[in-house]
Symmetry: C2
Subunit: 197 residues, 2 copies
């Protein structure tokens, strides 16, 4: 948990480096049992800038991954929007790289996420994280459906590319998937255009 974990006020901070990306502070209520949070609450978060377009096709998927310390997943930019969060007492270093064509191509944002944060990541922005705690439950909502057959159409960038300037923790010993090791360097990524997104 970070310093001010409990009872933050629900607010939204647009991330200027990556247009459309939003960081939310999420109120977490602690008591004798543990804690409770409204991780996503549409009625409260739309007025703060959570895009209504997230829901426009009526599609919804909730993914959960459980990862051990040192695991690094990413960086993946599938053609759907993501609302990302941590669902337990764990912490991750979240990292994002804009792969959309335009002025912000290659822009990076990083921040530590615990359960008191929620991150909106627009499609076309590559998403990844490294686990800082013993384990972490990483939970996210997406608005389109993954398929193995379509994986060749998704966009990726290599987490270890020094050109990104991402400050991972001990990246050489990170536990990653075979697939993630093989993703292209930023200089070889073809920027995503609006038709692909």
């Amino acid at each position: 948990m970070t310093e001010d974990f409990f009872e933050k006020k629900l607010i939204a901070r647009p991330i200027t480096a990556i247009p459309g990306m939003i960081e939310f502070d999420i109120p977490v209520h602690g008591d004798n049992r543990g804690w409770f949070k409204e991780n996503f609450q549409k009625e409260k978060m739309l007025p703060l800038g959570f895009p209504e377009t997230f829901f426009k096709d009526g599609k919804l998927q909730n993914n959960v991954s459980l990862s051990r310390q040192g695991v690094l997943r990413g960086l993946h930019a599938e053609p759907w929007d993501k609302y990302i969060s941590v669902a337990d007492n764990g912490r991750v270093l979240g990292s994002w790289v804009d792969l959309r064509e335009g002025d912000s191509f290659g822009h990076v944002y990083q921040t530590v996420i615990d359960a008191s944060k929620g991150i909106y990541v627009p499609r076309g922005v590559a998403n990844g994280f490294q686990v800082l705690s013993e384990t972490v439950s990483y939970s996210y909502l997406v608005n389109d459906y993954w398929a193995l057959e379509l994986k060749s159409k998704y966009a990726f960038v290599n987490y270890a590319d020094p050109a990104l300037g991402i400050t991972w923790d001990d990246v050489t010993n990170a536990e990653v998937s075979e697939a993630d090791k093989k993703h292209p360097l930023l200089k070889d990524v073809v920027p995503l255009n609006t038709e692909q997104l």
Copy 2:
């Protein structure tokens, strides 16, 4: 984790004791990093019986609670539907009591939930759980918005009522909220009618 945790086939089992309640087996994919699951996937789960009515008003909230071993939360029957799951390696004893007027009033269902299960709980069915693991992340989707001012209108039944026949583990030492201690016995609950739901 239960015996067959990984790579279950996605299936739905209607719970006959409580009409409308559905238990899903959720495929969990393990690898060197931990595991990944599609905890909720609308396109795959609607054909299996997940009610389309869950989405009819376009409302959505995702709640997450973190609880220590021995914590018991419930039994709460707010006027919204719930899709319940565990988001980490923890386990809970889930318990449900039908509080809707009709033949199934008072019917109980219990089962152990880990990350490889998902439970659809229709509105009017009281929901609760006891934590069996060291901690647990409990994550659920609901389709209407909670408000403190409305709490007096929500329906509850006392978890410790022996008439329920629920087999909690060491219920006298369970860690509960003050509010949950005060909920009425089943015999004093006024069955919920369709207007209230």
